[in-house]
């Protein structure tokens, strides 16, 4: 089921009448059967968007379509969605079986059929042996699976996940994100999830949407977005360690940093620009510019070096062997890996 948001807007008004545009004219299309991540820093409106899709929040403006149906005014229970809450919201007084059964109790189906569906779902998420326990007896990861099973048991058209991995520890997070990916692939259900963790979003989504202050920044396939950020915000938000942002200019087709250091080429006309270089896009190069590392961190296979370019501190990740024991290192920037942005608008300069 394709989800289409048209100029979706949500304005919160506080007690003093001050308005906050949590979601601002958001128009995106989430393709059918895909896993799409809504990504952004805290307070960017991603959860608000999710809750509007779910129907728990009323939009201030705009429309929501599921396929061709306009569901903007439809009550949540009529939309055919499954929602997994951040803290799972499993009913603590019911067993796992009763929890998963609960959505079915409200449908007009036979008990045997309901029982069969519950076991089918439990098998899908791998908690068949936990059905008669209470949620409090389960680990965080298992609770998460129960919540997913409960959301999926009534065969919704859309699955929504609110920060699905934020309550899990690091190891479980890796495991669960594989699990979510697998469940989504097996059921083929259109899935939207919200996260503030870029690594999480990049690792499992088919497409991701980056939001900031309720405004869509970019929607793309994760690697595409990483390689070609549409603006400075996306460039800064994605990547760990973060991208290096330097002042520079374009002169006769060359990208020039301070001290007349030429780091690459551009087809754009002469202008003052902001240059973004990801730490891993530096490479060891005998023909490159010479830097003196202020600090060196060995992180196994790679080495993180800190040096100063102009006034700015810059991070670079280079091959450990090539810098081992050196006080001066010659570097260059990999071809086509420069990101050049307009300093006023922040948009990428082609």
């Amino acid at each position: 089921m394709e989800i289409r948001l048209e100029e979706l807007t949500k304005i919160f008004t506080d007690k003093n009448g001050k308005e906050t545009r949590a979601v601002d004219n958001l128009s995106i299309t989430i393709p059918s059967g895909k896993l799409v991540g809504l990504l952004g820093p805290s307070g960017c409106g991603k959860s608000t968007t999710l809750y509007m899709i779910a129907g728990l929040l009323k939009p201030s403006g705009g429309k929501i379509f599921f396929g061709d149906d306009d569901v903007t005014k439809l009550a949540p229970e009529k939309r055919g969605i499954g929602l997994v809450f951040q803290n799972y919201a499993l009913y603590p007084h019911m067993t796992v079986r009763q929890n998963i059964m609960f959505p079915l109790e409200n449908l007009n189906i036979k008990r045997e059929e309901a029982t069969k569906l519950v076991e089918e779902m439990a098998a899908l998420v791998g908690i068949l042996d936990q059905l008669d326990k209470k949620p409090s007896q389960l680990s965080g990861g298992q609770q998460q699976r129960v919540a997913i099973a409960r959301a999926l048991v009534k065969k919704p058209r859309v699955l929504l996940l609110d920060e699905p991995l934020s309550n899990l520890d690091a190891r479980l997070r890796l495991q669960t994100r594989e699990e979510i990916k697998r469940i989504q692939r097996e059921t083929g259900i259109t899935t939207v999830f919200v996260t503030h963790d870029q690594e999480e979003a990049m690792s499992i989504s088919d497409q991701m949407v980056v939001l900031d202050y309720g405004v869509e920044q970019q929607m793309a396939v994760p690697q595409e977005m990483y390689n070609h950020p549409a603006n400075l915000f996306v460039a800064k938000f994605l990547g760990n360690p973060p991208i290096n942002i330097l002042d520079g200019k374009i002169e006769q087709g060359n990208v020039v940093l301070s001290d007349n250091l030429i780091v690459g080429t551009s087809k754009s006309p002469n202008a003052t620009v902001v240059v973004g270089i990801r730490p891993e896009d530096f490479r060891f190069d005998p023909q490159g510019f010479e830097v003196t590392p202020d600090e060196i961190e060995h992180i196994g296979r790679d080495t993180l070096i800190y040096f100063t370019l102009g006034e700015k501190k810059v991070r670079a990740i280079v091959d450990s062997d090539s810098v081992y024991g050196k006080t001066k290192i010659k570097l260059s920037v990999k071809k086509d890996k420069l990101h050049v942005f307009n300093p006023e608008t922040g948009n990428v300069v082609l």
């Binding site: 779910a54 129907g55 728990l56 009550a75 949540p76 229970e77 969605i81 499954g82 929602l83 809450f85 803290n87 919201a89 009913y91 603590p92 007084h93 019911m94 609960f102 959505p103 109790e105 409200n106 449908l107 409960r150 009534k154």
Partner: protein, 352 residues
């Protein structure tokens, strides 16, 4: 307002520092007067030391009377003034009490109050708590209104009730000075009723007592339930809504189980409280606990506690205090049995 708040905060701060200071000073004092060993006592010994004052009070005013009541219930010919008694009897006093028509009447009155008023108050207060929780405007105002009975004197409320339900055979024949209840009845074209005065029937008087018990019990229960309901995470309701559960279903499957510990607590305390009903009967029926119904006779509206308390005026007569004690022990036994049953049921039904 702001200055007041600041003063209050300063006062609280001061109190904290004074209490800490006095703690330090006490230890100093104890050490200086070679009483420092108290400071070095093990934790449990200190705890007992601090509990002593309360323990003494409980011993004198609770434990001793309980044990003494047991003892007195086994005496014959006991005189409370001299403290002398003739002999022991194992069940004599009990048998005499449970064979008294007055006691059986009191038992019946009490049972009716317990088994009718408790379920009604609990259901009603649960309903009101849910309603209060779902309104937004004037929430505080309504909460205050529903809490008012709790801080009002029982006898005062009872008198107001008695006033509202006033009306006897004479005033009904000649409708002047009817109470509010009868006025409402006449507005709707009904016949006025002599609720609790001459001409009353057993059930008309009992209805007033039950209404009073229900209403008087509401306030505290509403507050307890409301705080319980407010403690439930809203996400459970959102999840239930998405799963297509109706409001009634969300109430029965989420609200009730989630506040079941509170419901359980309220059930036990109000069953116990209702078994001990006394002042409401005094307020509504009067200190005699009887309604004279013309020349034909009278209605006995006394509860068990009322029955026991009646013996206070007869305490000087030999042996009667033992009957009162036996009745008190019977009441204790009844409450004990009911509480045990509830605890057993609660084990399976209450989700902590």
């Amino acid at each position: 307002m702001k200055a007041f708040k600041l003063k209050l905060q300063n006062l609280l701060w001061r109190m904290k520092s004074v209490s800490h200071h006095s703690f330090v000073k006490t230890e100093e004092f104890l050490t200086r007067h070679r009483l420092g060993f108290i400071v070095n006592w093990p934790h449990w010994l200190k705890a007992i030391f601090y509990l002593l004052p309360a323990m003494l009070m409980l011993l004198v005013f609770t434990f001793y009377p309980i044990i003494n009541s047991f003892m007195i219930s086994f005496y014959t010919g006991f005189n409370i003034q001299t403290g002398e008694f003739d002999n022991y009897t194992l069940l004599g006093n009990y048998i005499e009490v449970v064979n008294q028509a007055n006691f059986l009447q009191a038992l019946q009155n009490t049972a009716i109050i317990v088994f009718i008023s408790v379920p009604i108050t609990i259901l009603l207060s649960l309903f009101i708590a849910v309603a209060l929780n779902s309104i937004k405007p004037l929430k505080g105002f309504y909460q205050t209104i529903f809490f008012l009975p709790y801080v009002t004197n029982t006898i005062a409320i009872g008198l107001v009730f008695a006033f509202m339900f006033s009306g006897n055979t004479n005033t009904i024949a000649n409708p002047v000075g009817l109470g509010l209840a009868n006025q409402v009845i006449t507005w709707f074209g009904g016949q006025p009723i002599a609720w609790v005065a001459t001409g009353a029937t057993y059930w008309s008087a009992m209805t007033v007592i039950l209404m009073y018990s229900v209403w008087n019990g509401l306030a505290f229960k509403i507050i307890v339930f409301l705080s319980g309901i407010q403690g439930i995470d809203k996400q459970y309701y959102q999840a239930a809504q998405i799963d297509g559960a109706s409001r009634a279903k969300a109430f029965s499957r989420i609200t009730v189980p989630m506040i079941s510990p509170m419901i359980f607590y309220i059930l036990i305390t109000s069953v116990i409280g209702s078994f001990k009903t006394y002042s409401s009967v005094v307020a509504i029926i009067g200190v005699d606990g009887m309604i004279t119904t013309g020349s034909s006779g009278s209605l006995n509206m006394k509860t068990i506690v009322f029955y026991i308390y009646d013996y206070i005026s007869l305490a000087a007569q030999d042996g009667l205090m033992s009957l009162a004690a036996a009745a008190a022990i019977v009441l204790f036994g009844i409450i004990l049995v009911f509480t045990m049953i509830q605890l057993q049921v609660g084990k399976r039904r209450v989700h902590y």
